[in-house]
């Protein structure tokens, strides 16, 4: 027989009162703020097909997916975030009128290296606003996030705004498409955090031929494509008819030719990397950062729509009453997620050390199409990390008081009064007092010691006399004062403020 205790799964937590209580309150207050803006609740499953996240979530999420095969051979995962699930639900059953405002909360799972403030199971709570493309929608969502934190009494948070559309525009101009485009978009965040040299290393790691082959490409004597095609075809037929498996000969020939004349040369890649480097270094007060950004866009002859959008979001935020002194612009902010298309933002708390992010969000206008909708729909949203908010509140000194599990502790003096004691407890509960009944049948003295150590302020003792007279003895544990009251007087006992 195995007698070792069963251990908690690595990276998960057992949360006890008062922290558990605090977490529940934070979550409830967030949801109340969301609801106050007219967002309605949607509950989505914890289990999702892995495909949901493989399609558009990007490396940051996919590499941390809790994925497995179920008994029916389906590829499933524990959701790593809420947005994709909400959009999946939306695509499956689009509401008749837009925009639609939704909020959701619950546990999410990521296979991370656990550390302080970083767990494999944590709680997200967030909103999605689907079907509105104006900057006013961006401003509403961001100010809602800020307002929700204000409601919780959090003061020292910092909002960082960015826009992934700037890099997207450059890539479009350079003709960078497909996998390489995805790579750049996903790695903007890496450029911001570790510098563009790190991005370059990743790129070479993935495609060691990228720079060598493209450097050679220019001086190569232009071989007739048809000759190349014939040579490859000849080679393949010499290898045997089905050597290619499920791939076709024309596909292989096409790719060979494409590799000979790459649409995107090494110089283009260098240009994109340089731009990324410049972009990722622009951060600061909104007005200065936006001005720097405009200068960069002029230099690269790019349209400044993303920056004027961002400017409008900043202006509107101020109009919406948000405290703009908490807001910074960082054009390197990429969030590492593949589905963002426009404004992105994060909220951090300086009191949390390296895992300082409380909230992340942004605009994801292409996600619904990637998940099967007939057309792309403008949408944006964010999610809070509920545990992180609790840590931030704690860092600001707003830790919850340790309170007893109930207001009153009811003790029957002997077993004979158990039924009467239960009746008394029931009346106390109806009067709004959280009441615990001592069901242990221990001596009165021990029960009183227990109540004292547990920190109960008020204790009710019922003995033979009380049961007979329909009364109860109420003892104030702070000064040991006792009074006897009747059952009817219970209603006048005010619940303690907790």
């Amino acid at each position: 027989m195995e007698r070792r205790p069963v251990e908690r799964v690595r990276g998960t937590q057992d949360s006890w009162a008062p922290e558990a209580q605090h977490l529940a309150i934070i979550r409830q207050q967030l949801e109340e703020t969301f609801a106050s803006y007219g967002y309605s609740r949607i509950d989505v499953p914890v289990l999702e097909p892995s495909e949901l996240h493989l399609r558009k979530s990007g490396l940051e999420i996919i590499s941390k997916l809790y994925a497995f095969e179920d008994q029916g051979g389906r590829q499933l995962c524990l959701r790593p975030e809420l947005t994709a699930s909400v959009v999946r639900a939306f695509v499956a059953q689009p509401p008749p009128r837009l925009p639609v405002r939704l909020f959701s909360s619950g546990p999410v799972f990521r296979y991370e290296r656990p550390s302080k403030g970083r767990y494999r199971q944590f709680t997200q709570s967030g909103v999605e606003l689907i079907g509105a493309d104006d900057s006013a929608a961006d401003a509403e969502v961001i100010s809602l996030a800020m307002h929700a934190l204000d409601q919780l009494g959090l003061r020292e948070y910092v909002v960082t705004l960015g826009h992934v559309g700037i890099l997207g525009q450059l890539l479009t101009n350079l003709g960078v498409v497909g996998r390489l485009r995805t790579f750049f978009v996903e790695n903007l965040e890496e450029a911001r955090r570790r510098g563009v040299a790190a991005v370059r290393r990743r790129l070479v790691d993935l495609d060691p031929e990228l720079f060598e082959q493209r450097a050679e490409a220019a001086p190569t004597v232009a071989t007739d494509d048809r000759q190349v095609g014939q040579a490859v075809a000849g080679l393949l037929s010499a290898m045997g008819g089905d050597a290619l498996g499920r791939r076709s000969e024309s596909e292989v020939v096409e790719r060979i030719l494409l590799k000979q004349h790459p649409a995107v040369g090494a110089s283009t890649v260098e240009r994109a990397l340089n731009f990324m480097d410049r972009l990722a270094s622009i951060r600061g007060e909104p007005s200065t950062a936006l001005a720097e950004g405009r200068a960069l866009l002029v230099e690269y002859q790019l349209d400044d729509t993303p920056l004027s959008d961002l400017q409008r979001v900043v202006d509107l935020l101020e109009g919406f009453g948000a405290d703009i002194s908490n807001v910074k612009v960082d054009l390197g902010l990429g969030r590492g997620l593949q589905y963002y298309t426009g404004t992105v933002f994060e909220i951090d708390h300086p009191g949390l050390g390296s895992e300082s992010q409380l909230c992340g969000g942004g605009r994801y206008d292409d996600l619904s199409r990637a998940l099967g909708a007939r057309q792309a729909l403008p949408a944006l949203g964010f999610a809070f990390g509920v545990e992180r908010i609790r840590l931030a509140l704690e860092a600001e000194g707003a830790a919850p008081r340790s309170v007893p599990a109930a207001d009153v502790f009811v003790i029957p003096a002997s077993q004979a009064q158990m039924a009467y004691a239960a009746q008394v407890a029931h009346r106390l509960r109806r009067a709004g007092l959280q009441t615990q009944l001592d069901v242990t049948a221990r001596p009165l003295r021990n029960a009183l010691t227990f109540a004292d150590r547990e920190g109960f302020r008020r204790v009710v003792v019922v003995g033979e006399a009380e049961a007979r007279d329909g009364t109860l003895r109420l003892r104030d544990m702070t000064d040991s004062a006792e009074s006897t009251i009747s059952l009817d007087e219970i209603a006048s006992l005010a619940p303690e403020s907790r």
Binding site: L59, I62, R179, L206, D207, P208, V232, L236, R247, I256
Partner: protein, 361 residues
């Protein structure tokens, strides 16, 4: 003795748990790791003695209290993680695949230097357009566009999945195979394979090639231990220290040679001084010089007396050392491999204590 639990387990799994047993040491008995593991242990002075081929346990001469448990590498890993075995030799590939980051297993020696193999991504030779992971990502994407998915045969699903995701290949399906993985593409079960390769012969026979940047893991045999058992068992730790010392000294010695030369000189100090001036003849720490007593016909002449100088040199500098000794007038140069090279302490033992968070016993 260990807890009641493992006593009972011992009985169930092995039918015996002799009194006086301190440590259970898992050594591969089957598969490609078995033969090299036994040879390695023997070379370390830890020869496994088995009474008969059919016995599942054995002993190590000079290390009483150690029960050698003969198992497959895969089972050794599982049993170390569960605490049924305290210490074991297994493959880094299996460890990374199965145990990942399990807290209950601790790596005591990551590279024992044998059973080397690379876990690599292999694609058909005929895919002449595919030589890098970037190419493979394109193929996976185009298969997905036509409603198919790239099928990858492997017996390392966890390592494969993680590697592909990290490299931006997110659409593929894994075809689990325990043997004949490299035959799967040719047989049509899969499009590509991820498998261990040592010489590359099997993959060439199956008309496969390795992607340029397709090495997922460089694997070899490693020594692992159960964290709980080693943390709580002081006696176990002492036996592990002795085993680690021998292994470490043997591995360290492998690249070293002991070189002895006879030289003429006036004193030990003069010879030593001459040899210390060149890095090639300085050896690991410096020469040992001793007087050689000669017969009258080769008696000491004007050039001084004969001395023997011994240095320990790294194999990479052996020829240099010999050349320099000759220049210094050395003759009768003998070179012998070093069997063990003990330093002041065992680095691995120190590392183990640090990882377990226990102080010196």
């Amino acid at each position: 003795m260990t807890s009641l639990v493992s006593k009972e387990r011992g009985r169930v799994y092995l039918g015996c748990r002799m009194n006086g047993e301190v440590l259970r040491f898992g050594v591969p008995s089957k598969g490609r790791n078995a033969e090299p593991a036994h040879q390695f242990l023997e070379a370390c002075g830890l020869k496994v003695r088995r009474d008969s081929e059919r016995q599942l346990t054995a002993s190590i001469g000079g290390l009483p209290g150690v029960t050698v448990v003969l198992q497959r590498s895969e089972d050794i890993l599982i049993q170390v993680a569960d605490g049924r075995i305290d210490l074991g030799i297994t493959g880094l590939d299996i460890l990374r695949e199965r145990a990942g980051e399990r807290d209950d297993t601790i790596i005591l020696y990551e590279d024992l230097g044998f059973s080397r193999a690379d876990l690599v991504v292999e694609v058909p030779d005929s895919w002449v357009d595919v030589s890098t992971l970037a190419d493979l990502a394109d193929v996976a994407a185009s298969m997905r566009e036509s409603g198919e998915s790239l099928r990858v045969a492997t017996s390392f699903p966890n390592l494969t999945r993680r590697f592909f995701y990290e490299k931006g290949i997110s659409h593929f399906s894994l075809v689990r195979a325990e043997g004949g993985v490299e035959a799967a593409p040719a047989m049509g079960f899969a499009d590509i394979a991820v498998d261990l390769t040592t010489t590359g012969v099997t993959l060439r026979e199956n008309h496969l090639k390795v992607l340029r940047n397709g090495t997922i893991l460089r694997s070899q045999s490693c020594l692992v231990g159960n964290r709980r058992a080693l943390t709580t068992g002081r006696e176990k730790r002492e036996v592990v220290r002795r085993i680690l010392e021998l292994i470490e000294a043997h591995i360290r010695a492998r690249t070293f040679y002991s070189v002895t030369a006879n030289l003429r000189g006036n004193s030990e100090a003069e010879i030593a001084q001459a040899l210390l001036t060149s890095p090639a003849t300085r050896g690991k720490r410096g020469p040992t010089v001793a007087r050689v007593y000669t017969t009258p016909d080769s008696a000491d002449g004007d050039d001084g007396a004969w001395f023997a100088a011994t240095i320990i040199v790294d194999g990479a500098f052996l020829q240099d050392a010999v050349d320099h000794l000759r220049v210094a007038g050395g003759s009768d140069i003998t070179v012998t491999p070093v069997k063990y090279l003990f330093d002041e302490g065992s680095q691995c033992h120190e590392a183990m204590l640090a990882a377990l968070g226990v102080s010196h016993d």
